[in-house]
Amino acid sequence: MAQALFDKIWDVHLVATRPDGRDLVYIDRHVLHELHAPHAFKKLAQAGRPVRRPDLTFSMQDHTVPTAPGRGDFTNAQSTPFLQAMREGSRQNGIRLFDIDDPEQGISHVVAPELGMVLPGATHAVPDSHACTVGGLGALAFGCGTTELEHILATQVIALKRPKRMRIRLDGALAPHVSAKDVALRVIGEVGVAGGRGHAVEYAGTAVEAMSIESRLTLCNLSIEMGARSGLVAPDEKTFAWIAGRPWAPQGAAWDTALAHWRTLASDSDAVFDREVMLHCSALEPQITWGTDPSQVVGISGRVPELAAPGQESAFRRTLDYMGLAPGMALAGLTVDRVFIGSCTNSRLPDLQAAAAVVRGRHVAERVIAMVVPGSSTVKREAEAVGLDKVFRAAGFFWGESGCSMCAGGNGDRGAAGERCVSTTNRNFEGRQGKGVRTHLASPASAAAAAIAGRIVDVRPMFAGGS
């Protein structure tokens, strides 16, 4: 019977079905972080349960790490207990820790792909909803809660009901300075924040085939923002070339064997999906959110809707009140107080390059606080090797140490009430970047443009004249 790629990966990893009907799906790589893992370590210790496969488990310090240069355990007093509990729990359980001073530390969803821990056709779990990011390499990933994390540590399987399948076909060529972030936001705008609930998403189509691996990671990252726990792209030769030679990937003869298998990883041509969505991307312009969920998004030439959706009148008023906007207002031209470039969505080297291309030779507008936080210490080093830090610093940006930073503010990097912030992150929820902060989600290029102009602008004219 014809199968979707999702089913092929699921079936290979299906260890057993419990009497309650849940499938036990084996987890090939399990990556932990310090905001949630310490609670699970404690519960495991209380129950006297060992970690079944510490050799397939990795620990990252990412959610609470300070971004200030010269950072340490005590830079942020509130982070100290998390960092120390993570270190101790990882040591006791024999888990490789990427500590705050490790040259390869960073956001788990950035580090695991760049070090070759994530492999096509493999399963991956992280106690973080953006685990879906690594689907960009053709892995099947699950974000999970703390009790599920404890369960995976003890058993190396996750107990799930098989989700439905959804395919999102993205065709057409993206216009210059329109990115995977813009595509993903548009998709969420079309299907809504619950449109992928109960589904595993496969992204396909010519626009996806043309995307770089980093762009596919961005695309898959936002799957959870439409409610889908997993999102993936079938791996291709571009994927294999990207993974080849990365330190934790298979090497030599093992690589050849794995590669032969990976080349079989695709949905059958007659595979049936429970839901199909199509979007033609050629005419897409840069996107920006106006509201307090990622589906409230328009093109940069767009306006806040005039009217609420039926039955959503009070939510619409509440949203506009929080965002300091009125029905029908244009997004372009709104004054910006803060810009954040980073997070598991948009903090890889090509993201920073896209932002730097806008910033080079220009300066951040007066009053605007602008930050760049690379997604990993590796990305930071690579960016510095090509001088991006100097471009950003010369323009007046803060250039930070890697971590999750202002995406959720778990390290204390937050804005002040009433500030309008253009952010390359994934959630514009009320209070997410600080109580009262008004977040507009956008691409790295659009965020950089907002920092320079001091207001929300279309980035494309900034490249006019061939610069």
Partner: protein, 207 residues
């Protein structure tokens, strides 16, 4: 896990859609926080930091809540389980929603917080009864009979997967339940070591 059989208590209306986990329990910067204090910590305050008297959980009749009634896609966003622990710490044992976000629903089941999906006319009728009652009398949720009863009308039947119902009724330890399959897990690992060795081995080639 604490079993769930029958619950009688105050039902609180929070009739909005897409309430996310950042709102339910803002990210906490304390390793062992007061979970109850985190519940809707931002929403329940006004800009000046005082309690918003209009927010349901600040009203005197809802100070000891047991059941929440809300809209669709409750618990979307972050996977943080604190958004369930904060509900439990406040006394909630049941959430009635038009739908739940996938990860949040799993987190509820892991902690004995009963997630009931109620749609259409049943949901509207129940919401109207909860609003009309305004905390003056309790509602009851019976998981064995799959019924919600209380002031203002007949009992309302709800659906739940038999497996989820059994797990909540018995308060099963999920890890013990899975470890009954320990041999199958070991067999799978053994088979994969020969069939797909790259899955069963993670090594840094530089060391």
């Amino acid at each position: 896990m604490q079993p769930f059989t029958r619950l009688t208590g105050v039902a609180v209306p929070l009739l909005r859609d897409d309430i996310n986990t950042d709102e339910i329990a803002p990210i906490n910067r304390d390793l062992n926080p007061d979970w109850a204090a985190l519940l809707f910590a931002n929403t329940r305050k006004r800009a000046d930091g005082s309690d918003d008297p209009e927010f349901p959980l600040n009203k005197p009749q809802f100070r000891r809540p047991s059941i929440l009634i809300t809209g669709r896609n409750f618990g979307c966003g972050s996977s943080r389980e604190g958004a369930v622990w904060a509900m439990l710490a406040t006394g909630f044992r049941c959430i009635v929603a038009a739908s739940f976000a996938d990860i949040y629903r799993e987190n509820c089941l892991q902690n004995g917080l009963l997630p009931i999906e109620l749609k259409g006319a049943d949901a509207e009728a129940f919401a109207a009864r909860v609003v009309a009652t305004d905390g003056a009398a309790p509602f009851a949720v019976d998981l064995e009979l799959q019924l919600i009863s209380g002031p203002g009308g007949e009992a309302i039947a709800f659906d739940i997967l038999p497996a989820d119902r059994m797990r909540l009724l018995e308060g099963l330890d999920d890890i013990d339940f899975t470890l009954k399959h320990a041999q199958e897990i070991a067999d799978w690992e053994k088979r994969m070591r020969s069939e797909r060795p790259w899955l069963q081995s993670a090594q840094d080639a530089r060391h």
